[in-house]
Symmetry: C2
Subunit: 297 residues, 2 copies
C-alpha cells in the first residue's frame, strides 16, 4: 500500500509495527476464559495484516517528547482496537454490506452478524481497558488519554461521522459536507492517536496544538488517498470490494483525480509545516506524512 | 414492577431516580451538533421509563461511606448508559429479534438497524466519557471506576454472557450453565454499579468485598425474578414480548416457580447478610434487596 520508504524509516516502521502487533496479540489472548469463539472473532479483524498507521502515529508522537515506553505502546494498541471496531461496524449488512476487508472475508461473513457486532463492541471496550491499565503512566494521563479516545469515538467523532455518512447515502454531497464526514470518520481518530501519544510523552499544550494541526491535515489527506486508491485499485491491492465507493460521493468524483491529488499536496504541506516547532525531532512524523502523500502514485 | 415500598424508601427511590434521570437528560442533549437524529436515537432507549435500579445501586453504595455527590451521580449515569446499550444490542434482529422494550417499539424498529447499533456503541462510549469526566472525583478514582466498567462490559461480563447466551440457543442448559450466563449478562453490571459507587464514596477494600457479595447475590436474584415475571407476566406489565423467554432455558423452566422463588429467597438472604458490617448504614441497600425478593409476588 505504501511505496518503499527510505531505509531508516523502513526500519522504524517495521519495528514500531511489530511492537504494536505483539502487544495487540498479548492483549487479546487466543484462548481466554469462555467463550473462546468470541476471542477468535475479536482477533480476526484486529490481527489482519495492516499498516498500523494510527498506532505508529501514537508511538511516534510520544517520541517527540521522550522514549517510547510500554505505556505509549498500550495507547497505540487502544487506537488500533478502536479502529478495528469501526471497520467491523462499517462492513455490517445494515451499513456498507461489504464482503472483503484487507483481502479477507469480512468478520460477519465468518462468525455471523451477532458475534461480529459483539466483537466490535468488545474491541472498543478493550481499547478503554488498554488505556486505563496502560503501564507506567500516571492516572491523570490515563484519564486524559481515555477522554481523548471517548471524544474521537463519540458523536463528535467516528460514530457521528458514520451516522452522517449513512444519512447522506444517495444524496450528492458538496466538498464541505464530504470533509465534515471524513474529519469525523477518519480524522478524529488520527487526532486522538497523535494526542494520546503526546500525552504519554508528557508534551505541553502548545506542542500538542502543533501536533493537532499535523494530525488533522494528515487524516484528511489519508482519506483522500484512500478514495484515490479505491478509484484506481483492484481488490487484490486495496483488499476491499472494488469500486465500492463509486456509488457515494468521494473526493475523486467531486474533484477529479488531479484535483484530489492537489488537495492531498496542500494538506500534506500544511501537515509537514505544522511540525516546524519540533525541528529534527519531527523527522519520523514528517516522513510518515510524505509516505501518505504518494500512497496512490 | 415493584410493590409499594415503605414510605421513606419510596421517597429515597423517587429522589435518586429523578436525580439520575435529570443527569442522563443533561448528558445527552436533545439538540447537539450534527447529527441530531443520532442524539434522538440515543435518548430513545436511555430515557424510556425504567426503575434505574443499577444507577440507584451506585448512589446508594456511595452513601454507605459519604454523601452522594455529582461524581457518584455521574457514575450512576454511566452504569445506566451501559445498561441501555446492552438492551439495544440484545433486541437486534441478529440477536433476540425483539419488538417491544419497556412497552415501546424497540429502537431498531424506529431508527433502523444501523442507527440502533451506532446508538448502542455511542451509549457505551458516553458511559466512559461520563466516568472520565465525573465531577469532584480524583483521577485515580475515575480510572478505577472506568476500569471497573470495562471489566463488567467485556468478555468477562455483559459481552461474554451475551455471546454464550447466543451460542447456547437451542441447547438445554443446566443450572450451572444458566448461572454462568446470567452472572455475566446481568450480574457483572450489578457488581460494577455497587463497586463504582463505593469507589466514589471512598470505601475501603474490605467494605468493598462485603458489597461485592451483596451485589453478586442481588444480581442473580434479580435475573430470576425477571424470569418469573416473564413467565407469568403479560407485555403490558413487563413491557417486553410475552413469553419470549419460553423457548430458552430459564430459571423457571429449570427449577419450577416454587424452586425459582426458593432460590430468590436464598440469594436475597445471602445478599442482606453481606450487609451486616454496615449496620444501620445498610438500610437502603437492605430495603432494595427486599424489594427485589417480592418483585413477582
Amino acid at each position: 500500500m505504501f511505496r518503499r520508504a527510505a531505509p531508516e524509516l523502513e526500519v522504524y516502521l517495521a519495528d514500531a509495527r511489530r511492537q504494536v502487533e505483539d502487544a495487540l496479540d498479548r492483549a487479546i489472548p487466543p484462548l481466554g476464559t469462555p467463550p473462546p469463539r468470541f476471542h477468535e472473532a475479536v482477533r480476526y479483524t484486529l490481527l489482519l495484516p495492516g499498516k498500523r498507521l494510527r498506532g505508529i502515529l501514537t508511538v511516534a508522537a510520544c517520541e517527540l517528547f521522550r522514549e517510547r515506553g510500554d505505556g505509549a505502546v498500550a495507547l497505540a494498541c487502544a487506537v488500533e482496537m478502536a479502529h478495528a471496531a469501526s471497520l467491523i461496524l462499517d462492513d455490517l449488512p445494515s451499513m456498507d454490506d461489504a464482503t472483503l476487508r484487507r483481502g479477507k472475508p469480512v468478520l460477519h461473513a465468518v462468525v455471523g452478524e451477532a458475534n461480529a457486532i459483539l466483537a466490535a463492541v468488545g474491541l472498543l471496550n478493550a481499547a478503554y481497558a488498554a488505556v486505563l491499565e496502560a503501564p507506567g503512566l500516571r492516572d491523570a494521563v490515563r484519564r486524559q488519554a481515555a477522554a481523548c479516545l471517548a471524544g474521537a469515538v463519540g458523536a463528535e467523532g467516528l460514530i457521528g461521522g458514520q451516522v452522517q455518512d449513512l444519512e447522506s447515502t444517495g444524496h450528492k454531497l458538496d466538498l464541505e459536507g464530504l470533509e465534515w464526514i471524513h474529519s469525523h470518520k477518519t480524522g478524529a481518530l488520527f487526532l486522538a492517536a497523535a494526542q494520546m501519544g503526546a500525552l504519554a510523552g508528557g508534551g505541553r499544550p502548545r506542542a500538542r496544538e502543533a501536533l493537532h494541526r499535523y494530525a488533522k491535515n494528515l487524516g484528511l489527506a489519508f482519506q483522500i488517498t484512500d478514495d484515490l486508491l479505491d478509484y484506481s485499485g483492484n481488490p487484490e491491492t486495496t483488499g476491499k470490494d472494488a469500486g465500492q465507493d463509486r456509488e457515494r460521493t468521494t473526493f475523486v468524483n467531486l474533484c477529479g483525480i488531479e484535483g484530489a491529488r492537489k488537495l492531498v499536496d496542500e494538506l500534506i504541506d500544511a501537515s509537514v509545516g505544522a511540525l516546524s516547532p519540533f525541528g529534527r525531532r519531527g523527522a519520523i512524523l514528517r516522513a510518515l506524512a510524505e509516505m501518505v502523500r504518494v500512497r496512490d502514485r
